[in-house]
Amino acid sequence: MKITLHVWRQKSAKDRGDFETHRLDDVSADSSFLEMLDQLNDGLVEQGREPVAFDHDCREGICGACGMVINGYAHGPRALTTACQLHMREFGDGDEIWIEPWRAKAFPVIKDLAVDRSAFDRIIGAGGYVSVNTGSAPDANEIAIPKKIADQAMDAATCIGCGACVAACPNASAMLFTSAKVSHLGMLPQGQVERFDRVRNMVAQHDAEGFGGCTNHGECEAACPKGISLEWIARMNRDFLKAMVAERDTVSAR
């Protein structure tokens, strides 16, 4: 198939950047979106030009490295699908495709389509963990967890940290990500000790990074390749308000 690409090119965080147009004449409908970009880059390298920088790693939809806004949709038009799992058969012969990086103050562009998502790491660092004693491994079934609770915690834990929720949100808010990370631990017995410190600290870090606030548009839920639900945001809000209004610090000293 033939396609026309309008790709965002930006040399560095300081560069202004602009779209660059490329035509590809023999793209296989069976190639993935990233393979199509590889094909573009092969051509650019042959011409001695800079290839388009984009993040990717597993290419099987589980690592969360890839991510770009394709024709106005985070990860492209197919629901519940990362950019790496998107295939060119989703597009028509002769289509024009616009590719832009995630846009958020907290995700500065490094180069072209690659953005710096270390703000997510700092949110995790602020509380997305449980403290355990090292030493001999605990018995696997020492703490009984009801199947339904384990399933729900797993639903939240499927967040791959890709940032599509931020990209899709009209407010560039990272509340879907933060709520998934707050909740998958907060659901489990092991996560109870730090539960209220966790939500306080992770939300404070979320805000400090310069993400916007949630106004309940729901764009994040629709864009999320893992189907993380808005219900997690409501749950985080419950925990956060309780933590702020009624709960003392449990672990961390202020």
Partner: protein
């Protein structure tokens, strides 16, 4: 962790919770205000409206209306403060926008909350000037000195009827209610989500109830100017 000693209003969730709490007060007011105003469709509307208005000023030896006004002003200010700080923050969070952006789930209502809010604010100012301070009533100030309504200095019923015979004033009121309805269509489910009320058991109902509430409030208020305009008020 350094810098964690935040207070609720400093956080994005806290600001939204303040907006949600104040909106509960404002929505409660809307229900009461609509209920009272619909008295204009009573059999003897002049008597019903003026008696109700007199009662508002008399209730609790005249203290309740001032308490309610104070609470409403606080709620409006809290709501607007939250809206302004959140909006400023959200605009700053995306300095470079998209060339192409498609919406999947957001609604016209959710995307226009701040504009609708500004329109409602303008309307509240106009509405207070109009019917509380009696500026721009077509027939002029309607003095009332009736021992049956000792707390009224003006004929509230006549103010309404004279005003809503003017199509321009009717237009302003109807338009304002369209904005209000849109604001509530998103707001009335959003405040529950903000306060953490979400469960698959009732989430569908939550959306429907919000839409119904928005529709009933805005249609209810629209009936009043239209009712006068089209002679449905006795």
């Amino acid at each position: 962790m350094a810098g964690q000693a935040l207070s609720l209003p400093q956080t994005t969730i806290g600001k939204k919770a303040i907006m949600a709490a104040s909106s509960i007060i404002l929505m409660g007011f809307l229900v009461g205000h609509l209920g009272g105003n619909l008295l204009i469709f009573a059999d003897n509307p002049e008597q019903a409206v003026n008696a109700y208005s007199n009662w508002l000023r008399e209730f609790g030896h005249g203290s309740v209306i001032w308490i309610v006004r104070a609470v409403l002003i606080a709620a409006v200010l809290g709501h607007i403060w939250g809206a302004m700080t959140i909006t400023a923050r959200n605009k700053a969070a995306r300095p470079v926008g998209y060339r192409r952006k498609q919406s999947l789930r957001s609604t016209l209502a959710s995307r226009t909350m701040v504009y609708g809010g500004m329109a409602i604010t303008a309307y509240i100012i106009y509405h207070l000037a109009h019917l509380t301070f009696h500026a721009g009533i077509p027939g002029g100030f309607n003095p009332l000195d009736d021992p049956a309504y000792p707390h009224l200095t003006t004929n509230v019923y006549l103010n309404l009827v004279e005003s809503f015979q003017n199509p321009g004033i009717v237009g302003i009121y109807v338009l304002a209610q369209v904005f209000l309805g849109l604001h509530l269509y998103h707001g009335a489910w959003s405040f529950l989500q903000t306060l953490g009320a979400s469960h698959p058991r009732y989430n569908e109902t939550r959306k429907l109830a919000a839409a119904a509430f928005a529709g009933l409030i805005s249609v209810g208020f629209i009936l009043i100017p239209l009712g006068v305009q089209f002679g449905l008020v006795k």
